[in-house]
């Protein structure tokens, strides 16, 4: 063995190994080539066994050549491995193509009922103006529901509230959220800004615009100098928040517990004020009733009517929800047909 033939063997070996590497069909063949050429018992090592027969001066040169061959084979195997990986991956990805236009896996989410949602929406608007939420009992006593609100027994104004009575003496199902005014005034001191949402009851036959159970939100603000103009300002903001910019007006109303009493109208949401069947051709829709708290009510609430004055308002949640969502029939709300409820996505 001489230097020349040894180095020629190595070069031939390199050539063969490179050819075989680039022709390797799969990772397993590459593994075999790796063992065949580069392992301890591999062909390069085998060739190098002949190095002992060389003159000592040539041995480092052969060693260097062998290292070069070894690196080249390793690199070729690596390259081929990368190529094969890329091929396999490309094939896999190609095989994994899906119709991306198919619909997704359904995620069920329930919907929230429009009545509590509307009440929450109302509370949110007034909350920005410092109104805090209170809740009063639904089984109320006659005193708080009527008498303390300036509606004595046998007063003709009682006809405005057809009442359901219960078998607890002196009690009834509250006909409005207004008794909450008394409860708030009795439990706190001015400045008062309170909001009272809740369920109410009346003896009323059910049709598209009436029900014996319904929901109201009551508002109360009492301080020194709280005026009708403050009420107008707040209600304008409220109407704006819920129905967008449109004209509003006060007109006279009547409630025994407010003096003066007003009705709050907004420009008809259907015709924009021109006049249509929805607004009885008046161009206006009544949103709520309100007024300055009657001195009698303040007195029952333990508040000095000479020092303090305030306003109260009450609105039907269904009425607001009807207008916001174009709900044609009040009965939808307590019927709970999912075809209705699931529209409130």
């Amino acid at each position: 063995m001489d230097f020349e033939s040894l180095s020629a063997d190595l070069r031939a070996l390199q050539q063969r190994a490179l050819d075989e590497a680039s022709a390797a069909p799969d990772p397993e063949s590459l593994e075999l080539l790796q063992i065949r050429y580069l392992s301890k018992k591999g062909e390069i090592t085998t060739v190098l066994r002949g190095i002992g027969a060389l003159p000592p001066g040539d041995r480092p040169r052969v060693g260097a050549i062998a290292n070069g061959v070894s690196e080249a084979v390793k690199a070729a195997l690596g390259r081929r491995e990368a190529e094969l990986h890329a091929e396999v991956q490309t094939l896999r990805l190609a095989s994994e193509r899906v119709d991306v236009t198919l619909p997704g896996r359904p995620r069920a989410r329930g919907t929230l009922h429009p009545i509590p949602e509307t009440a929450a929406c109302i509370a949110e608007v007034f909350g920005q103006f410092g109104f805090v939420v209170y809740e009063g009992p639904e089984v109320e006593d006659d005193l708080t529901n009527f008498q303390m609100l300036n509606i004595p027994p046998d007063h003709p104004a009682r006809d405005l509230w057809d009442t359901l009575y219960v078998d607890i003496p002196g009690h009834l199902l509250r006909t409005h959220t207004s008794p909450g005014q008394i409860r708030v005034m009795q439990s706190t001191r001015p400045p008062i800004r309170a909001l009272l949402p809740g369920r109410c009851f009346r003896y009323e036959a059910v049709d598209a615009s009436h029900g014996f159970e319904f929901f109201q939100v009551e508002g109360l603000m009492v301080d020194e100098g709280t005026s009708l103009a403050d009420l107008k300002g707040l209600l304008d903001e409220f109407a704006h928040a819920l129905f967008g910019p449109r004209k509003t007006r006060f007109r006279p109303g009547y409630y025994p517990f407010t003096e003066p009493s007003v009705a709050f109208d907004v420009e008809c949401l259907v015709c924009g004020g021109v006049g249509c069947p929805a607004c009885s051709r008046t161009g206006w829709m009544t949103i709520l009733g309100a007024g300055m708290v009657h001195p009698v009510v303040l007195q029952y609430g333990g508040i000095d009517p000479e020092r303090y004055q305030g306003f109260a308002f009450g609105m039907g949640v269904e009425r607001i929800a009807n207008l916001r969502h174009a709900v044609p029939d009040l009965r939808y709300y307590l019927e709970n047909d999912l075809r209705f409820l699931e529209q409130f996505r």
């Binding site: 198919l102 929230l112 009922h113 509590p116 103006f129 607890i168 007109r251 009547y254």
Partner: protein, 833 residues
């Protein structure tokens, strides 16, 4: 109240269109709820003149007429009435006409004679009450004119509020119109020609209850002839919504509509000894009222009586025996003021509320007793003839002066939030008849009347004194005058201004926790429902949801959430007669409704109140219930359907406990059976400090589903109570630092007899795991070979660790060994690892 504009114009000039007038009245507080064209339903009815009236050749009861309607050939019309004669002008319905009640008139043939239309009675046109004869029109009625042009009217439907009884009449509304437009009010000329003997010879009045009848004015008319009122009177009453009866009763009704003063007319011959006694009924007395109902009178009923017994219920309805009839000639007229509360109670007691009682309830101006008596007498004389006895019986002739009410213009401005000068305020009040003057002396200001009168010294403010018209019984305090000023001024001019006063102290919203849970439940796939609080007593019988208190170890603060049911004493229907104590039955109703709409996959929840009574006091608390039925995951192209089961419900309860800051709930089987599946019902509880949650989760018994007529095979219902639902503040999270030392996981397969529940196994592991056991999760449940048929294998993953060090292998082994031996010794488990 129906207000015919032609009638209203008698008392005030109106230059506005009906629509403009309606808006002005509405903005003044007299809300116009509708504008009706009276006569709009007389189409193609014209004025005709009878040319000939002849007997029908083949029918005795019919006439054949020829009628000139002003143009074209005279019409031949067959008619059945007997009050017609040539030369009369009559309403003619032409072929094609449509009368009230959608009655169509066509060319017809009557007993062989063609009839080209119809002559109309007052009743057919709803103009008068006369159905017998043809309506005879005034001779000057223009031929050929549409009847609606002549007698049509515009009627406003005005909603007069309960505090304005004074406006519940034409004069009252004319006053409002005058205030709104500045026009002058015209009172009718009221004068009575008295030609008879002194009234005291005919009528005596004995008021024995002067508290309940504060004034009684009596008049007497002799020799009247009862018959129909003049047509124009009948037309007015009809247009205003009141049926004409006869000339005397119509006079009384006319005055009620005109002046707002209810009066009553008796057949004088039926008033024994000419003596009227106003007293309370005595036990056992009976009276047949005008509606021909015989009524047992209760002792607190105020009645009008004669010496022989009751002849009327005061202010509500007269008696049939003293009714004005065809042969009446003597007429006793009552114009009284009764106590409003007494009248209202009586009306309610006998379920008899008349136009009269509604007006008495609202209170009457004192003067009206006298004025009303005179006006009824005047009209009776005009329409029925006779002679009027001289003078009136009057039990309280002294009429009080108008009251005076002091107010502070500055205070009014402050209430309205608008600067209205004193001069302007005075002018506005003057327009509604309230005269004002500068206060001459120091005045007390009436701030409130009830419950405790409050009058304050005026202090530095300018004070005006208003003279309140006698008809305005609603004006009693300063704020009432503020309202008058505001409404006459017009609320449209109220400035809008955002409050700039102090904000109240922070207060957390009691809705917050409920809102959080609602969002959570919706996110978990449940849809919110809101159902009736009033339920059927029958439903309650169909599903008795066990009360929480029946459980032995009831959680302290939930104990109050039960009691007897509250029953409505005047329910609208049996279906809604009881306040519910639980929500579950309502959710089954929701399922039922949706199943009927063909919807079987239903998952709904409600957060609502339960109500009960404890020691005759009402209790209310918030409950949460949900129901699941059908597919939890409906089939889709990329998955198969999965039905809801008990585990879904438990998962929801576990989620709720997490949101409320409670530990995972513990479960105890509830094997009571009906209404629950005996093997699929449980009590769930979670408790943390003062907060607790408790409730039941159950698959419903098939027999219960059958009772509800449900198609669903499996329905899971859960209902929970927790004080946390009413809490304003959600539980606060307290963070634990992340563990600094690694935790170790070990799996244990616990093989136990079926009789041991998972809860028992888990409790045993926790008990023996000690402080190092930081997590425990069941990840597999296996039954079958090689296990015995009575066994199951529960595979748990234990997480072990310590906060202060890395556990050694030996520590972990010792902990697991402890768990193993505990399981073996306490519940006879053996383990595979």
């Amino acid at each position: 109240m129906r207000v015919p504009l032609t009638w209203l114009r008698e008392y005030v000039d109106v230059q506005l269109t009906p629509e403009q007038l309606a808006e002005r009245l509405t903005l003044l507080g007299m809300e116009v709820q509708g504008i009706e064209q009276w006569g709009a339903d007389w189409r193609s009815v014209v004025v005709g003149e009878l040319l000939t009236v002849e007997k029908h050749p083949y029918a005795d009861r019919l006439h054949v007429t020829t009628v000139n309607i002003g143009s074209g050939e005279p019409l031949h019309i067959v008619c059945g009435a007997h009050n017609i004669a040539p030369g009369q002008r009559v309403p003619v319905a032409l072929p094609g006409a449509v009368l009230p009640g959608d009655r169509r008139i066509e060319r017809t043939e009557k007993m062989g004679i063609a009839s080209e239309g119809m002559l109309c009675s007052g009743d057919e046109l709803h103009i008068t009450a006369d159905a017998e004869g043809i309506l005879i029109l005034p001779a000057e009625a223009p031929l050929g004119r549409q009847l609606s042009d002549l007698y049509g009217d515009t009627v406003l439907d005005v909603d007069v509020k309960p505090n304005r009884g004074d406006a519940l009449c034409l004069i009252g509304l004319a006053r409002e119109v005058a205030a709104a437009t500045g026009a002058a009010l015209r009172w009718p000329e009221i004068a009575v020609e008295e030609t008879g003997r002194p009234v005291g010879e005919r009528l005596r009045v004995d008021v024995r209850e002067p508290e309940l009848c504060t004034r009684f004015v009596g008049r007497w008319v002799s020799g009247a002839a009862i018959g129909p009122s003049p047509d124009w009177v009948q037309m007015r009453l009809q247009t205003a919504g009141m049926r004409p009866i006869n000339n005397v009763v119509d006079a009384s009704n006319y005055v009620m509509l005109e002046l707002g003063k209810p009066t009553h007319t008796f057949d004088g011959a039926a008033v024994h000894e000419g003596t009227i006694i106003v007293r309370r009924a005595v036990r056992g007395e009976r009276l047949e009222t005008l509606d021909h109902v015989k009524r047992e009178l209760t002792e607190d009923t105020l009645i009008i009586a004669d010496p022989q017994g009751p002849i009327g219920i005061a202010g509500v309805m007269g008696g049939a025996e003293s009714e004005i009839g065809d042969h009446t000639t003597e007429i006793a007229i009552e114009s009284a003021i009764f106590d409003p509360v007494s009248i209202r109670r009586t009306g309610h007691r006998y379920a008899l509320r008349s136009e009269a009682s509604l007006r008495f309830e609202k209170g009457q101006e004192f003067r009206l007793a006298r004025i009303g008596a005179d006006r009824v007498t005047q009209l009776t004389l005009a329409w029925a003839g006779g002679s009027v006895a001289k003078g009136r019986i009057d039990t309280a002739p002294a009429e009080p002066d108008p009251s005076r009410l002091a107010f502070r213009p500055r205070r009014v401005s402050k209430l309205l939030g608008a600067e209205v000068t004193a001069a302007e305020q005075r002018e506005l009040l003057r327009r509604v008849g309230i005269e004002t003057e500068e206060a001459a002396t120091a005045q007390q200001i009436q701030v409130a009347v009830d419950p405790k009168p409050l009058a304050v010294p005026a202090g530095e403010d300018q004070v005006l004194v208003a003279t309140v018209p006698t008809w305005r019984r609603d004006l009693a305090i300063e704020a009432d005058l503020a309202e008058e000023i505001a409404r006459v001024r017009g609320y449209e001019s109220t400035p809008a201004h955002l409050p700039d006063t102090l904000m109240p102290a922070y207060r957390p919203s009691s809705l917050r926790v409920r809102e959080m849970l609602r969002e959570t439940l919706a996110g978990a796939g449940l849809t919110e429902v809101v159902t009736h609080a009033l339920v059927s007593s029958l439903d309650e019988a169909r599903l008795v949801w066990p009360e929480d208190t029946s459980e032995p170890a009831m959680l302290g603060n939930l104990a109050a959430q039960s009691g007897d049911e509250i029953v409505v004493t005047n329910p609208l229907s049996a279906q809604h007669s009881v306040l519910r104590r639980h929500l579950a039955a309502s959710l089954l109703d929701v399922l039922s409704l949706n199943e009927r709409q063909g919807r079987g996959d239903v998952a709904v929840f409600e957060i609502g109140k339960g109500y009960a009574r404890v020691d005759d006091a009402p209790r209310e608390w918030t409950r949460l219930a949900f129901l699941m039925s059908g597919a939890a995951e409906p089939a889709s192209w990329n998955r198969t359907a999965r039905p809801y089961d008990l585990d879904d419900a438990k998962g929801i309860v576990e989620l709720l406990c997490q949101r409320l800051g409670l530990p995972a709930p513990s479960y105890v089987p509830d094997s009571r059976g009906f209404p629950f599946h005996p093997g699929r019902a449980l009590v769930a509880r979670a408790e943390e400090g003062p907060t607790a949650l408790s409730g039941r989760i159950a698959e419903m018994h098939p027999d219960l589903l059958a009772r509800w007529d449900l198609r669903a095979q499996r329905v899971i219902v859960a209902e929970l109570a927790s004080p946390a639902l009413d809490a304003a503040v959600p539980a606060r999270v307290r963070v634990e630092p992340m563990p600094r030392f690694p935790e170790v996981e070990r799996d244990l397969a616990v093989i136990v007899a079926e009789s041991h529940t998972a809860a028992e196994v888990e409790a045993t592991i926790r008990r023996h795991g000690g402080a190092l056991l930081r997590g425990l999760r069941l990840f597999d449940l296996y039954r079958g070979a090689p296990l015995a048929a009575t066994e199951k294998s529960l595979a748990y993953r234990l997480v072990l660790g310590a906060r202060d060090r890395t556990l050694t292998e030996a520590e972990v082994d010792a902990a697991v060994a402890g768990v193993r031996s505990g399981l073996e010794s306490e519940i006879g488990a053996h383990l595979r690892t």
